[in-house]
């Protein structure tokens, strides 16, 4: 009952890759190219959204403005991912952290440039835009003293 040696039939293979619409958050993805991390702010109630939202879940207003976030974050938690999913198998093990920005929003992103033993809850890091190894724009946490660009 426990073995892989049981007879099976292979299902027909299928490859899936969806085209995810980003027209309403395009400003965010473009902002990364200018090294800016943008959030949206509701024009009616002032709620701030990161990840950016095109609609306000608080007051249902659909009029939002783009605001740039500060870069200094306090790390609230982290983990070092050793066993990776298939689509990340080409990467070395990576560290993910959640950091809180001065504006009150939190960001989940990779944390790079630290020795893992140095990573602590409560430490400070800087949130920066970057080009991922898949040549897509993304963002990550790096040491505060890392020089610009």
């Amino acid at each position: 009952m426990s073995s892989a040696s049981m007879p099976t039939i292979k299902s027909k293979p299928v490859t899936i890759s969806q085209d995810i619409p980003v027209s309403k958050t395009l400003r965010f993805w473009e902002g990364l190219k200018e090294d800016k991390i943008l959030a949206t702010k509701c024009c009616q109630c002032g709620s701030l959204y990161f990840p950016p939202a095109a609609d306000c879940a608080n007051c249902l207003c659909t009029s939002m403005e783009w605001v740039e976030l500060s870069s200094e974050a306090e790390i609230e938690t982290f983990t070092h991912i050793v066993v990776r999913p298939t689509s990340f198998s080409q990467h070395k093990p990576y560290t993910v952290a959640i950091g809180k920005l001065r504006e009150g929003v939190k960001v989940l992103a990779w944390l790079t440039g630290f020795k893992f033993s140095q990573v602590k809850v409560g430490m400070k890091a800087k949130l920066v835009a970057k080009v991922s190894s898949d040549e897509e724009w993304s963002y990550e946490f790096v040491p505060l003293d890392k020089s610009e660009g």
Binding site: T77, V83, V96, L108
Partner: protein, 390 residues
């Protein structure tokens, strides 16, 4: 609202079940549940199936339809419920609601999952996407252990808990699984075994994680009138169902020391059942990872904030302690067939409340004849708390 009782339960052998397809696996829970209730499949008016991985971990996209046909349930009202790892509890809630509101007299919740037809890495991929794909997976490759590891590191930093403390959950739950013939992992383990197992997402190691399991469980519910008509001798009554949810993005959580959905769902359930946590005889809690069981002790009010580890170390969650927890081995060792888990928790509660625990060595002592099942979907994305009373 009508009173609703559980009148039949079934649970398949959990494990790597490459000997059966999803329909055959479902049958292994449906047959004993119908026999337990003294019914046939034609007596069931409504079927809610809990399964999360349809078309991903296993080949069938419409598992409710194929399992119903295979088990002779075609013609009943039918739906599939998805609430990630709480899909089984969501299905139970749908079946319970159908009877409570008078729409059906007899309904079935059937939880089934096949997770071992694909390779482990692809399975990690699917489960890692079970959050907010666009914002937390696409660029960052989160995995399910990693989500809980974020909670574990925050908890350890705040309360000084250690990796050894987390390991004790695994040691306890493997001990009880070794007494449970349906359990996936029936080996007893030590703290050293946990600490020396490979790191999956720090601080969580292999033995901090529940296994990927194939399994099914089935619960049949009926109205009070039907219970009398069928002369059911040991009905187990649904005292309350509480539910809540949490944000998709973990970055939107207020903190990482508790799951808010567990707190809300349990408070709602305690209020509806008119009881306090200390009146519970025992509980099944959602221990997909060792940290999750410690969070559950606190979120469900079994002990105070930051006291979960002490509570565990004192043996309060063992048989003989204040509230035995997961004496079937839990998700951690009995196994975690995602969509079946919620129904399997209710199977265990029902068996214990009828004083029919499979092995007498793990029958909990009953004073108030009340048990609780706490079933989380994702990382506190969904939560169902179900309280049963005999």
């Amino acid at each position: 609202m009508r009173k609703v009782a559980i009148i039949g339960v079934g649970n398949s052998k959990f494990g790597i079940r490459n000997d059966v397809n999803v329909s055959e696996l479902a049958f292994e829970a449906v047959k004993p549940a119908l026999e337990d209730a003294g019914l046939t499949s034609k007596d069931v008016g409504f079927v809610a199936l809990g399964s999360a991985g349809a078309g991903a971990w296993y080949e069938e996209l419409l598992p409710a339809v194929v399992t119903s046909e295979y088990c002779g349930l075609t013609g009943a009202g039918l739906m599939r419920c998805e609430a990630a790892c709480a899909s089984g509890s969501a299905a139970f809630f749908a079946a319970y609601s159908a009877v409570a509101c008078g729409q059906a007299d007899i309904a079935m919740a059937l939880g089934v999952e096949k997770m071992r037809e694909i390779d482990t890495q692809t399975a990690m991929e699917w489960i890692g996407r079970a959050g907010y794909y666009l914002w937390e997976f696409h660029n960052f490759g989160l995995t399910f252990p990693a989500y809980y590891a974020l909670y574990a590191n925050a908890y350890m930093a705040r309360y000084g808990a250690t990796e050894e403390d987390l390991a004790l959950v695994g040691v306890k739950n493997h001990k009880y699984a070794a007494m449970n013939p349906v359990a996936h992992l029936q080996n007893r383990i030590t703290v050293e075994d946990v600490l020396s197992s490979m790191v999956i997402a720090s601080p969580l190691k292999l033995y901090d994680c529940s296994p990927m399991t194939d399994g099914s469980a089935c619960i049949i519910v009926a109205s009070e009138e039907k219970v009398r008509e069928l002369k059911i001798d040991a009905p187990v009554w649904v005292a309350a169902v509480g539910y809540s949810s949490g944000t998709a993005n973990l970055s939107k959580r207020a903190g990482f020391l508790s799951l808010d959905a567990s707190v809300s769902a349990s408070q709602q359930a305690y209020k509806a059942a008119k009881l306090q946590p200390k009146q519970l005889d025992f509980a099944e809690v959602h221990d997909c990872f060792t940290i999750a069981e410690i969070l559950a002790y606190e979120d469900l009010g079994f002990c105070g904030r930051g006291e979960g580890v002490k509570f565990l170390r004192e043996g309060q969650t063992e048989i003989g302690g204040k509230i035995p927890v997961n004496v079937d081995g839990g998700l951690k060792a009995k196994g975690h067939p995602i969509g079946a888990t919620g129904c399997s928790m209710l199977y265990e509660l029902t068996k214990q409340l009828r004083e029919e625990a499979v092995e007498k060595s793990r029958q909990v002592p009953l004073k108030n004849y009340v048990g609780l099942a706490h079933n989380i979907g994702g990382t506190g994305h969904y939560c169902y708390v179900t309280i049963l009373r005999r």
